[in-house]
Symmetry: C2
Subunit: 157 residues, 2 copies
Amino acid sequence: MQTYQVEKLKINFKTLEEFKKFREYGLAELSMLEDLEGNLIENNSDSPFYGIYQDGKLVARMCLYHVDAKYDRYFDPQQDFLELWKLEVLIPYQRLGLGTALVSYAKSLSLPIKTNARNRSAPFWKKMGFQPVRYNPERDRGESPYVWLPEGVSLKD
Amino acid sequence: MQTYQVEKLKINFKTLEEFKKFREYGLAELSMLEDLEGNLIENNSDSPFYGIYQDGKLVARMCLYHVDAKYDRYFDPQQDFLELWKLEVLIPYQRLGLGTALVSYAKSLSLPIKTNARNRSAPFWKKMGFQPVRYNPERDRGESPYVWLPEGVSLKD
C-alpha cells in the first residue's frame, strides 16, 4: 500500500490559488485571500488545512480545527477535540487512499475527532473507525455528526 | 411564471421514505425514523421540513429551524432567526424555480435567515437577496454563512 505525505498547509497565494479547484471553496478561503492581500496576515502563516501533493499539485485537503474543551458537547470526559471538515480529494485522485491518509493523520494526533458525515459518506467514516452520535436536534441542527474516540474517551450521554 | 405550493411536512413513514431520495439524508432523518418506529413521537407530528410535491411525489425540500435570540451571533438587534439548510431539489426537477419557491416561502416569515452557501451555491443565494457575512473563524468554523435581512435588521459588526 502506498503511503502519502500529509503536509500542514501555509497560507500563501499559491495555496489559495490551488484551493479554487476544490468544490468546498467559500467564505473561509476568500477571507484568507483578503487577509493576505490586505497584509492582515503574513505570507506563509499557518492555516488549519492539511493536504497531500501529487505531481506537484495539491490534490487532497482537509481542515482540522482544534476546539477548546469548553465548547465540547460530545465527549466524556469533556475535553479539547478536533473538528474535521472540508475533507476533499480532487476527482482524478479519488479511490487511491488519499482521504484515508488524511483521516489517519488526524487520528495520529490522539484527540477525539468530530465530523459531519455529509452526502451519504457514513460508510467511509465507519470504515475509518468513526461512529454516529445519538442525534440531538438542538445541538446537531441537521448535521450527521460522526466521531472518533481515542482510548479512554467515550460519548457523552 | 408557475407558482408552487410549499407545504409543512409531517413526520410519517411516507415522508421519511421519500426523504431517502435526497442526497442529504443522514442522522437527522434516521433519528426521526427511529423515534416514529419506537412510538417516541406520534405519527404526523410536526417536522422542521417544508417541501413541494409534483406528480404526487416530494421533489424539493428544505429544513427551517427557528433559533432563539440567545444564540444569535449574526444580527443587529440580536433576535430570533431562521436557520435554513438541506435545501435540495431532486435532479429531474431542478432549474424549474422550486428552490426559489422554498426560499421565498422562508422569507415570507419575516425573520432574518441564515444559511451556509455550500458547494459554490453563492450565486444562487445572492440572486435570492442573501449576502455573505464577514467571515469569523471562531464563529463560522469553515462555513460560508449567507444571510437575508428583513427591513430594520442589519448585520452585527
